[in-house]
């Protein structure tokens, strides 16, 4: 069973998938009409005329807030499996989660005290 030939269908599938994509792309390129002018080649930005560069500098505070949000958001994700198994895990589980939360709280306290969330400072 575990021989090279048993992987043959996978190879076929890869070839067919790749071939189909390649074929369609080439065909649309060759058969489709192509009108080139300045307006046509402009970047599409929801119909609004594009303005400036995408690489603008923005305040680090956005980044700080966003990354801290991700951190505490992930913390909440861990609560869901715990909430489902709340009764089975019992006292020991509660203590473990309490420790996990307290670590996060320490981090939250640190962030607050360091002034990472103060917007106009």
């Amino acid at each position: 069973m575990n021989t090279t030939s048993s992987y043959f269908p996978i190879v076929m599938q890869t070839l067919v998938a790749g071939g189909f994509v390649g074929l369609v792309l080439t065909l649309t390129h060759l058969l489709g009409p192509s009108r080139k002018n300045k307006t046509k080649d402009a970047n599409f930005e929801c119909g609004v005329e594009s303005d400036g560069d995408a690489r603008v500098r923005f305040s680090i505070k956005y980044f700080m807030t966003a990354i801290l949000f991700v951190l505490f958001d992930v913390e909440v994700i861990f609560f869901y499996p715990y909430a489902v198994n709340f009764k089975e895990l019992g006292g020991e589980g509660f203590l473990a989660v309490l420790m996990f939360v307290s670590f996060f709280l320490i981090g939250f306290f640190y962030v607050l005290k360091k002034g990472a969330l103060e917007w106009d400072k």
């Binding site: 306290f109 640190y110 005290k113 360091k114």
Partner: protein, 467 residues
């Protein structure tokens, strides 16, 4: 295990000292935590019986994730002593504008040290991965802790990009090993390697794990990051990387390859080739360097090459030789960095020409650097000689060609280690800047010099702990 918890909690306390406006307390708190940690390691080492790899606590207590053995106790001891010296060294060397981050720097160092402890006591491949991450992530930040300096930013960025990439390779390797054996547990892997056929998948996994570890130790061909990162990072962090980080990842690699995979899984020849390549690349490139930090970076690559000799001959004595070598290397490297930091602080760069005439203007510093350099080169009556001697005698039975290459390399290394020595004693001073030292730097220098000579004359000082 208690050690890891203790150091983690003290790291958090040190981190918080800046919030409560107790930034001055960060240094004494860190030193106190490390000293207590050292006491705990001593106590662990006393609890051990003869066996090198028997866990002190029952392994089931920590669900076979961690086994703190005598091997780990000795490695942790070496790392703790190195950290104590480095942190003492940093007392006056952190520039005033960075003083604001002092507690953060110490906190990150302690966190990194936790990863280092996990790396020398893991019993499960997931713990190996976690250890590498806990060790590395604070280091990426530490490498860039001089926020306004371009070189420091570059160092952090390079280290982070390449480091995270190789961690991915390491993880892939662990996954393949799991795929081949169905277990993460080191004991199960050991059984797999010693009984029966080793599958190709396992071998590929082993190579990928080796690649990941090689990056962290700085073995050829994964060494390209280390000169840039070493020269760009703040000197205290560089000293930390060259000693503590190297010791811990080497310990981890030693556990995995010598103890678990064992000789009959056929990786010793690969490692012997890597060892030879690492020694030659490290030593030959070091001869071309004009900056002291870059030279030390290549020197640390070369020393990793020597250390691999212990891995290709995995008996109990080689573990002891590794610990002795690591202790000798760490003492000499920290001593050399201490002198370099004094010179750099007063002259503004770490170019070897800046050491000119130091023998006349500050003979104490010059003598200390000479002894450190002699130890790194392996001149008799220093710790470097005796540890190289142990290492080479162990390797002689199996890989005598490699030992001959290593001896040739030691001869090459004398050339560049003596460059600053010649500059200090025989070249006239080029500027009239006075090189000043301070108390903490002097203490570290004296400890290093006395340690190097004491271990060099009487190696049982360290080996006694391993018997």
């Amino acid at each position: 295990m208690k050690l890891i918890i203790f150091i983690t909690i003290s790291a958090i306390i040190v981190l918080f000292s800046s919030i409560f406006n107790a930034r001055k307390a960060a240094l004494p708190l860190t030193l106190m935590a490390l000293l207590i940690g050292l006491g705990m390691v001593f106590q662990y080492n006393c609890q051990c019986d003869g066996s090198f790899y028997r866990s002190i606590v029952d392994e089931a207590t920590y669900r076979n994730m961690i086994s703190f053995t005598r091997f780990s106790a000795l490695f942790s001891g070496v790392m703790l002593v190195a950290s104590i010296l480095i942190i003492t060294l940093s007392a006056n060397s952190i520039k005033p504008i960075f003083d604001h981050y002092r507690s953060d720097i110490y906190g990150l160092m302690l966190f990194s040290l936790c990863g280092a402890f996990i790396l020398v006591s893991y019993q499960h491949l997931v713990m190996l991965f976690l250890g590498i991450e806990i060790l590395s992530i604070p280091l990426y930040i530490l490498a860039g802790s001089r926020k306004n300096e371009l070189a420091s930013n570059e160092a952090a960025f390079k280290y982070f990009l390449m480091g995270s990439f190789t961690t991915g390779v390491l993880l892939f390797g662990i996954a393949l090993i799991y795929g081949a054996t169905g277990s993460f547990d080191l004991n199960a892997l050991m059984t797999y390697c010693h009984v029966g056929q080793i599958s190709t998948m396992f071998k590929v996994g082993m190579i990928m794990v080796l690649a990941g570890m090689s990056f962290k130790i700085g073995l050829v061909p994964f060494h390209f990051w280390s000169p840039d990162v070493y020269s760009g990072s703040p000197s205290v962090v560089t000293a930390f990387m060259a000693t503590v980080v190297k010791t811990s990842v080497f310990g981890a690699t030693y556990i995995l390859f010598s103890k678990v995979f064992g000789v009959n899984s056929g990786w010793t020849d690969t490692l012997a080739v890597i060892a030879a390549a690492t020694m030659f690349v490290g030593n030959l490139t070091a001869t071309q360097q004009s900056g002291f930090k870059r030279m030390m970076a290549y020197s640390s690559i070369a020393h990793a090459g020597y250390l691999l000799i212990a891995m290709v001959s995995p008996d109990l004595a080689s573990g002891k030789a590794v610990i002795l070598y690591m202790a000798a290397y760490s003492l000499a490297t920290i001593g050399a960095f201490a002198v370099m930091m004094a010179v750099r602080r007063c002259t503004g760069s770490d170019d070897i020409n800046n050491f000119n005439g130091l023998g006349k203007s500050n003979p104490v510093l010059a003598t200390a650097l000479t002894i450190a350099m002699m130890s790194l080169a392996g001149i008799p009556l220093t710790a470097g000689f005796i540890s190289k001697y142990y290492l080479f005698t162990i390797g002689w039975s199996g890989y005598s060609t490699l030992i001959i290459l290593a001896i040739i390399n030691s001869a090459i290394s004398v050339y560049y280690y003596f460059k600053p020595v010649i500059a200090m004693w025989f070249k006239p001073s080029t500027s009239d800047i006075e090189i000043k030292t301070d108390t903490s730097l002097n203490i570290v220098l004296w400890v290093c010099v006395i340690g190097i000579i004491a271990v060099g004359v009487y190696p049982d000082l360290i080996l006694a702990f391993a018997d």
